[in-house]
């Protein structure tokens, strides 16, 4: 029987028996009841774009701050037919990405890939790939601090109220302060957005360069915060707008360089010191994109 990935079929979530790999683990590590609980939170989150849904985060065999929220979301969405890609700061080969990929290889024996187009599920820390996401893909963000109002209001009971009553005026105070200090909006990461004209949301510490990619994306975007026990989501084709002022419109800043490896002029670049003399090189942070472009 053929299955499509864009529809979440209940059947896909049945208990997996007789695993050919490490038998000690249930498929994708989490037990089925936990996955069910997390899927409920995910579905609720998809129904209320940008709203933070509480969930009972589980202990994972990795410390908080290493993507336990994202890993739990990924584990709950993963099916045997998925092809998984894990990136950290745009790269597939960093320690964090490698260890999470190995974790899923060991516990679920699914296919993995470094090629964005081939992945059906991508977990990320700090970047959105340059290759546009497409229909049928699920994109999972690791989130350290899910509450965009936390810097203004430490009391959770109060931030919940502010969200429910759309009391968001104070959010602009931060942008105001930026402009007053620097002449422009300095916030470069975790730049707050309004989702579906309703909830203000922290997009996790992606560079603001990536913010426009969230808007109207055909993929399902899921956000998991393990320590803070929150899941939120952007369903496909949803409006996502970065906050700004009328006279200081949002600007997805990018360094005035081309990639020294592939020559791309419109990708997000990492600045790298290449020798003892302090010479710098600029290269794509998205290693998959850069390799493909170079080899063309």
């Amino acid at each position: 029987m053929r299955k499509t990935n864009n529809v979440i079929k209940i059947k896909d979530f049945k208990v997996d028996k007789g695993l050919p790999f490490d038998q000690e683990y249930n498929f994708a590590y989490l037990d089925e009841n936990t996955k069910k609980m997390i899927r409920r939170a995910i579905i609720k989150a998809l129904c209320i774009p940008g709203y933070q849904v509480p969930f009972a985060s589980r202990e994972m065999p990795m410390p908080y701050g290493w993507g336990t929220g994202g890993v739990q979301v990924t584990a709950s969405c993963l099916t045997k037919r998925d092809t998984l890609k894990i990136i950290d700061q745009g790269a597939d080969d960093t320690t964090n990405a490698v260890s999470i990929r190995n974790f899923f290889k060991k516990t679920s024996n699914i296919k993995t890939t470094e090629i964005t187009e081939k992945a059906t599920l991508i977990q990320t820390r700090h970047r959105i790939p340059e290759t546009p996401l497409k229909k049928k893909q699920i994109f999972v963000y690791q989130v350290p601090i899910p509450e965009p109002l936390a810097f203004l209001e430490p009391k959770v009971s109060e931030t919940i109220k502010m969200h429910s009553l759309s009391e968001y005026g104070a959010m602009h105070v931060k942008l105001y302060e930026d402009i007053s200090k620097n002449g422009h909006i300095e916030t470069a990461y975790a730049y707050p957005v309004k989702t579906n004209d309703r909830y203000i949301m922290d997009p996790s510490p992606i560079p603001k360069f990536d913010n426009p990619k969230m808007n109207n994306s055909p993929a399902i975007q899921l956000f998991g915060a393990g320590r803070e026990q929150r899941i939120y989501a952007i369903p496909p084709y949803t409006k996502v707008k970065s906050l700004d002022f009328e006279d200081y419109p949002f600007d997805p800043f990018k360094a005035e360089h081309a990639c020294d490896i592939c020559g791309s002029k419109n990708t997000y670049l990492d600045e790298i010191i290449v020798d003892d003399a302090g010479n710098k090189s600029f290269i794509c942070s998205d290693t998959d994109f850069c390799n493909k472009r170079k080899n063309k």
Partner: protein, 256 residues
């Protein structure tokens, strides 16, 4: 006939079995300044907190009538109430630190209220903030400085600017000069008085200090043990107090 801007009927609030305020009735008309006096623990703060939405009273009625629109303050939804508080009311705390964000610049503090009622043009927010710094006599070169670099008197003036910038319909002040050095009290008081006159503000002000009431208030109420024991035009009450308690208060304070 002028309709009162604020009409309070039989308002009561207790804390467990301690009386905060009891059976308070009063009204306030547009452009009036009402002073509330009374000894420590007489219920002044309790009353002003109930009227401004900081505290939920146990019984009574609070009706605001603003631009011919009646608001039954204790019988609206929480979201309507918070919106009403945000757009129509203002509260100046005794301690300016309670009414300011200390990690946000002076301009950001003044501008916050504008942003919370929908201003989204940086240039406009900035120029209004500058105008208000000027009004409260803070040098506009200080607009990007943090409040921690300000003196107590400046902080209080900053808090006042922050509250007045959106032209609220009723302004509550709880001992606005109470926490200040005597030497700067007069300046802040003068500022409040000139703003009240210039902008025709409607104010409810709590003070221990009868001199403050005499200077600012058109009407006053005297509280004791949570109830109003005397009320009337300030000049009358201060010149010719009827209650023994008020007589004592006036003679002990004003004629030292």
């Amino acid at each position: 006939m002028i309709i009162p801007l604020l009409k309070v009927t039989n308002l009561s609030k207790s804390y467990d079995n301690i009386v905060g305020c009891k059976n308070i009735s009063m009204s306030l008309y547009p452009g009036e300044v009402l002073g509330i006096v009374g000894e420590s623990g007489s219920g002044k703060t309790t009353l002003i907190n109930c009227l401004s939405g900081n505290l939920e009273p146990d019984r009574g009625k609070i009706i605001f009538n603003i631009n011919n629109k009646e608001t039954d303050f204790l019988n609206i939804s929480e979201s309507e109430k918070r919106k009403f508080i945000r757009t129509d009311l203002a509260f100046v705390h005794q301690n300016p630190r309670d009414g300011l964000r200390l990690n946000v610049s002076a301009g950001g503090n003044i501008g916050e209220k504008l942003m919370s009622v929908g201003y989204r043009h940086y240039g406009n927010i900035r120029s209004l903030a500058t105008k208000w710094m000027n009004k409260v006599e803070i040098d506009k070169s200080r607009i990007d400085d943090l409040p921690i670099t300000f003196s107590g008197g400046m902080l209080q003036r900053l808090q006042i600017a922050k509250n007045l910038i959106t032209s609220p319909n009723v302004i509550f002040m709880d001992e606005p000069t109470g926490g200040l050095d005597v030497s700067v009290q007069a300046r802040v008081l003068d500022l409040i008085r000139s703003l009240v006159n210039e902008l025709n503000l409607t104010v409810i002000i709590v003070s221990h200090d009868l001199a403050v009431i005499r200077l600012l208030a058109d009407k006053m109420i005297v509280m004791k043990n949570g109830t109003v024991i005397e009320s009337g035009l300030s000049d009358q009450v201060l010149e010719d107090p009827q209650q023994e308690y008020t007589q004592l208060l006036v003679s002990s304070v004003l004629h030292v």
